[in-house]
Symmetry: C2
Subunit: 328 residues, 2 copies
């Protein structure tokens, strides 16, 4: 199976490294970062490209752009892992549409396009008879979409509750364990590389809400948008609040929850028993699905990381190779 | 898709009830309990059969046996959910072979045949171009096999640790929470219907070891047998041991673990931090998979129950319908 890889940040490098390292039957025939690109229908030498990227900051030819690769390269599946733009979803949405119109499968880790244009992208993929997969957009390495699609096939998903932002979980864990203030824990998260210089997106629950939107659209097809999510961040939480929760055998976590029957779509700090499966330490993500047959199923794992996210991308590619392609 | 259902105990009734209740495109064309059977290629009226089973203890015609249904009915997939025989795997193994030889898919919750004859059944299914699926054999409703097969496709599974026996988890939870002795907690488990009159199979770790064998064969194809598992039960644990663990912020769980690089295949009571994801309450099951890309992924859910186990069976049937059949 031939793959075009667009984006060579942390996730893209993880995908390229794993494809080069493992014998998965995947060949990269087109690659692009924000400034340069390469096309070779016989397969690109990934090790050399990654070395060039490390030393020069460029992966290929300045005369070849990402749109060139998407329009001209010979590939079966586009892996779109450029930085997310949560407001416009561009240029990633345009990239994906171009590939889908060429009847190429699309696999992405890009939350913006999926949260903003799910219905349109899904419909276009179906019309063209190709796959549109986005396991990596929610909770990194945790195979949530595969679980919804196959593991729990036949179940009605009644509700879900999740810890979908590792940065907030780290901050809350440190506030609880060490009695730190929010500001102290945030500073520590920045030092560890878990929080951006501007942490708004994470600590105000926007990132978790975007993931909730993606899950809700996937499960219930309800056209949910970011503005439909009630949202409270963790930035006003005090060390006292954590201490009080701890004294009652509980702790506080930023929980994203959806329950369509109650018309409840919310991201907010919640007091939760310390032995609850959703209470995990550090940057872990966790999701509980409430279903009619299987009852509660909880999944816990890494929500971010280069190779961890590559695991989700590669899982999608192999699923397309093994199940979708033969079906056509 | 036409289904033959063999076995009308708790799991079989759950499967039949859910197929009748939900519009899944599944039709039961053959059904048998231990004494009677029914065959109708136009579809059997499940509601009536379940009512008859409740009132008379029989599902059909005493002139029709399970082998008759398997050999003669018109079906695409056999659902084999008769009681497990961990020593011989019979008569279930024979039932499955008959169906596979007829080029029928097989879905089972029956641990004995899978633990004893995995390689042979898998090879026969492959030779005949049909599916052999057994999600329900390990950890009930938790979609472990789907996760291994697709969600974590491309990952190397390095090791696994699991709480795979709900009876033991219930007993240990009650000993820890209430300071009960093993005998007191076992009695409570019996009263709740979580333990058999003879609890040997559960409390000596045999059930968990059988599930470990199934997982090991699935993941590593290493021909593991029950006798290869180092096994210690929970029946000699004292209330003191639990209390000491609790004082150190830990608890005790019966952990099934496999690590082929260390040649470690073991079921034993282990001291474990109370905030570890594997520590769940009551009869829940949990499994952590240690992988090269996704790192640790933990799945938690119901390990038993009529409808919960039916969820796994139906997930397998729908996977065959959506992915396997089209591939052929």
């Amino acid at each position: 199976m031939k793959v075009a890889l667009i984006g060579l940040g942390s996730v893209g490098r993880g995908v390229a490294t794993m494809i080069a390292k493992k014998d998965l039957g995947l060949t990269i025939t087109g690659i692009a970062d924000s400034k340069t690109g390469l096309i070779d229908s016989n397969g690109i030498g990934i090790t050399e490209v990654l070395a060039a990227k490390r030393t020069t900051g460029k992966c290929g030819d300045p005369g070849i752009t990402a749109p060139d690769v998407i329009k001209k390269a010979d590939y079966d599946a586009l892996v779109e892992v450029t930085p997310t733009d949560a407001l416009s979803g561009e240029p990633a949405t345009g990239y994906m549409k171009t590939a889908l119109n060429r009847k190429k499968h699309v696999v992405t880790s890009n939350k913006g396009p999926v949260a903003l244009h799910y219905k349109e992208l899904r419909a276009l993929a179906e019309k063209k008879g190709v796959a549109f997969r986005y396991e990596a957009t929610v909770a990194g390495a945790i195979p949530i979409m595969h679980t919804l699609e196959h593991g729990l096939a036949g179940n009605e998903i009644l509700a879900l509750y999740g810890v979908l932002n590792g940065t907030c979980n780290f901050i809350l864990t440190r506030m609880a364990d060490e009695g730190l203030t929010y500001e102290q824990a945030l500073m520590e998260a920045r030092e560890m590389g878990y929080a951006e210089a501007d942490p708004t997106y994470d600590v105000q629950g926007i990132d978790a809400a975007i993931k909730l939107v993606i899950l809700a659209n996937t499960i219930w097809g309800n056209g949910m948008k970011l503005a439909d999510v009630d949202r409270t961040g963790i930035d006003l939480l005090t060390a006292d609040a954590l201490r009080l929760a701890e004294e009652g055998g509980c702790t506080i976590r930023l929980i994203a929850e959806a329950n369509p029957k109650k018309n409840l779509f919310r991201v907010s700090p919640r007091i939760i028993g310390k032995t609850h499966p959703l209470v995990t330490e550090g940057t872990l993500n966790a999701l509980t699905l409430e279903t009619d047959m299987a009852k509660e199923i909880t999944l816990i794992g890494r929500g971010a990381g280069s190779v961890e996210t590559a695991s989700a991308i590669i899982g999608d590619l192999l699923f397309i190779r093994d199940c979708h392609v033969q079906r056509a």
